[in-house]
């Protein structure tokens, strides 16, 4: 009676392939811009200057690698949690083409200097429209699959997925409002302080709805799969969920402390940022307690390493973030290299670690095989971990050092160091950070090779069966 559902995985595979390609592009450009900060003569042509490349790095990383693999894994997870095939495979194929078109055009237009300058919403209006269409197509597909589901109960991952679908839509549309001058240029609908306030309402909630809820959905799905333990507490998951999506939206102004944004907005942002520790750590504890009695898997199961390491960095990230949201601490580290240290602990240590585990698992499952090499997966793990740690630690150090120099005053109240003195002091860290990028890249290449070989193994197994 219970014939197994046929899942539609072609687009899952397609999105995984392309997200890995865009992720590699992001890392390569990340390395290039980190080299440029140490050796400015590497700004060799207008379209290869730091100012134009940095947004390509962040867009390829967040939209290409991040959102690309979220789409893949949401398709994967949703089908399995609802025990239903994807609502429309055709639509999923179109979504993939449009997605690739959007990311590729983003890279080209940003290199040409077509840039709205609002962080994480740099794309000019025609492309922003394409991105919105991609998102709507994808959301519709996932949501319709959920509506037509065979499994009545909705597991916590589906909650995070649905919140992501709604949240990103609202944020992206509002922050992209503007008046077009022509096809390649528009002016923001908002001015000055208003524009800044809207931007960071968006910016911080891009962190919430892109770099937090999707990896959490993925984490909540794959941790029980990988370990064989059910999630520790469904109820804790639910409480954490609602408080998380409630609180995040109040915190945008912690990016704008000490600026002309009204004081009370800053204070509210600071307070809510600190309260955010609770729901964030709700997820962390849920992860840890799920491991109860099975901690030996940290050694025996390579996927557990990625997942538990990832949730640990999420935990650290959500302690460090609220700290940065406190006025006095912000006064110190805001604008410095400390912040890229924070960013990459989250992006590399949390988001990417969870994605690596999920992709390994899903690729093997979809190909009805085992991973090609656990040893290589281990090598991959250590390389990306070491790369990321060097990145973050050097940047935190650089940030603290530069901040203390920038704030140092003489007895008469005048500044002790010129700007350039503070900058010369951090050049060694810039060089170390560039080196960490190469270590990370090596890890990424091992990952790609391992995934590729797993695919090969899968298809040869198929031909044997046939």
């Amino acid at each position: 009676m219970n014939a197994p559902t046929r899942y539609y995985d072609e687009s899952v595979k397609g999105f995984i392939t392309w997200s890995i390609i865009w992720g590699t592009v992001a890392v390569l450009i990340g390395i290039l811009i980190s080299l440029q900060l140490a050796w400015p003569q590497l700004n060799v042509a207008p379209y290869l200057t730091y100012g134009r490349l940095r947004p390509i790095h962040t867009n390829a990383a967040i939209f290409g690698w991040g959102i690309g693999s979220f789409i893949a894994l949401f398709f994967y997870i949703t089908q399995r949690l609802t025990k239903s095939p994807l609502w429309s495979p055709g639509l999923a194929r179109v979504t993939l083409w449009l997605f690739n078109f959007a990311i590729a055009s983003a890279a080209v237009t940003l290199a040409l200097g077509i840039n709205r300058t609002k962080e994480y919403a740099e794309l000019e209006w025609p492309l922003a429209l394409v991105v919105a269409v991609v998102w709507v197509l994808f959301s519709t597909n996932v949501f319709m699959t959920i509506l037509k589901r065979k499994e009545e109960q909705m597991y916590i991952s589906l909650w995070y997925i649905m919140a992501t679908l709604v949240g990103v839509t609202v944020l992206y549309v509002v922050n992209n409002l503007g008046v077009p001058l022509h096809l390649f240029k528009s002016y923001s609908a908002f001015a000055g302080t208003n524009d800044a306030n809207v931007q960071w309402w968006y910016g911080h909630n891009a962190v919430a709805m892109v770099l937090t809820t999707p990896p959490l959905a993925i984490f909540y799905y794959f941790l029980p799969k990988v370990t064989g333990n059910p999630i520790f507490s469904h109820r804790m998951g639910i409480i954490a969920f609602w408080s998380l999506i409630f609180m995040y939206l109040w915190t945008g102004a912690h990016h704008l402390l000490w600026t002309p944004v009204p004081d009370w907005i800053q204070t509210v942002a600071m307070a809510f940022s600190i309260m955010l520790i609770a729901p964030s750590w709700g997820a962390v504890f849920n992860g840890y307690l799920t491991m109860n009695g099975k901690w030996e898997q940290m050694k025996s199961n390579y996927l557990v390493k990625f997942l538990i390491c990832g949730i640990t960095f999420y935990g650290l990230q959500t302690i460090q973030g609220p700290m940065q949201a406190i006025r006095t601490f912000s006064a110190f580290i805001h604008y410095t290299d400390w912040v890229p240290g924070h960013v990459h602990m989250g992006a590399l240590g949390w988001v990417s670690m969870v994605l690596f585990a999920a992709i390994y698992y899903a690729v093997a499952k979809m190909n009805d095989t085992e991973i090609y090499s656990v040893k290589l997966a281990d090598t991959h793990f250590w390389l990306v971990l070491v790369g990321q740690l060097i990145y973050s630690i050097t940047m935190w150090t650089a940030g603290v050092q530069q901040a203390s120099m920038l704030l140092a005053t003489n007895p008469d109240g005048s500044l002790h160091y010129s700007f350039m003195e503070t900058m010369i002091a951090i050049f060694p860290y810039y060089k170390m950070r560039a080196a960490s990028g190469f270590i990370y890249l090596a890890g990424l290449l091992v990952f790609i090779y391992n995934v590729y070989k797993t695919y090969q193994k899968g298809s040869s197994a198929e031909s044997v069966r046939a």
Partner: protein, 295 residues
């Protein structure tokens, strides 16, 4: 029930998201940029300045430069240039805002006050080759901006942004390069706000007598102030680059004091009366009068 009904779930999630959004993002539109925020002296951009601003966006200068002087004492001291901290009213014509989130380079909110030179000589030299002015800088060279400015949309931009403009403003665009435009924008930043120039003027009249007659006693201090504030225009060894050489001078101590304190802004010599106290200026005067090239 929630766990079974995705439609109700989505609606509820939307409502939850909109609470914080309404309070901290939508409601503030009621007073931000309102009459209380306005500063009468702050004027919209001219067509040339707006073109410069668009080039600033195109080149992504905001990835390395912030444009807000925070209310912190150290920020005001380093980046205020006499204009104090940034106020909301300074930005009412900025669409989008360009506050930035990183200071790989210095804040530029009031950069027009730091380099008042009408011809923008310092900027030109610096933009074409930053390392020729500040050797350890990691700013990219922007010599490629020495290209004719495309003015096809200049007038439309003014209309779209509802900025007033005259025919003279449009004529100003003729024959200009992209470099001219970005320099015009740099020179505008911060210069509209009413600043405490008077203070600088007063200081100059406080004292006419140089308290230092011995170079040895002040040399170390003077050289360190010089390296921070003057070397980028007068050369590392005071040999003169953008500004004239400062090794020995026929001017009197009082004249030199007045120049350093008030500046010769039209010609590109900034005023330092707001940022350096009297003692420091006298030390510099002593260095200029008595110092030799290899000191």
């Amino acid at each position: 029930m929630l766990e079974k009904n995705p439609v109700i779930f989505i609606i509820l999630a939307f409502v939850v998201i909109m609470i914080g959004t309404t309070v901290t993002m939508i409601a503030p539109f009621k007073w931000i940029n309102g009459p209380n925020d306005r500063i009468a002296e702050v004027k919209p951009y001219t067509p040339l300045q707006q073109e410069g601003r668009d080039i600033y966006m195109r080149e992504g200068c905001n990835n390395c430069h912030s444009q807000t002087v925070r209310t912190l004492a150290a920020d005001v001291e380093r980046y205020g240039y006499g204009g104090g901290y940034s106020k909301s009213g300074e930005f009412v014509y900025d669409r989008p805002h360009l506050w930035g989130s990183r200071r790989t380079g210095p804040d530029l909110a009031h950069i027009g006050l730091k380099y008042p030179d009408q011809k923008g000589m310092w900027h030109r030299k610096h933009m074409e080759n930053p390392q020729s002015v500040v050797p350890a800088s990691n700013m990219p060279a922007y010599a490629f901006l020495n290209e004719p400015l495309d003015t096809t949309y200049s007038e439309r931009k003014m209309k779209l942004l509802k900025f007033p403009y005259s025919q003279a403003d449009l004529d100003e665009l003729k024959g200009k390069t992209e470099m001219d435009a970005i320099i015009a924008y740099m020179r505008k930043l911060g210069t509209d706000i009413p600043i405490k120039k008077a203070e600088a003027g007063q200081q100059a009249s406080v004292s006419k007598n140089n308290p230092f007659s011995d170079l040895k006693a002040v040399k170390a201090d003077a050289l360190s102030i010089y390296a921070k504030d003057c070397a980028s225009c007068h050369g590392d060894k005071r040999e003169g680059t953008l500004g004239p050489a400062l090794t020995g001078s026929s001017k009197t101590d009082a004249e030199l004091f007045a120049i350093i304190s008030k500046g010769i802004e039209a010609n590109g010599m900034p005023s330092f009366g707001g940022s350096l106290d009297e003692q420091k200026i006298w030390k510099l005067v002593t260095l200029i009068k008595l110092g030799k090239q290899n000191d």
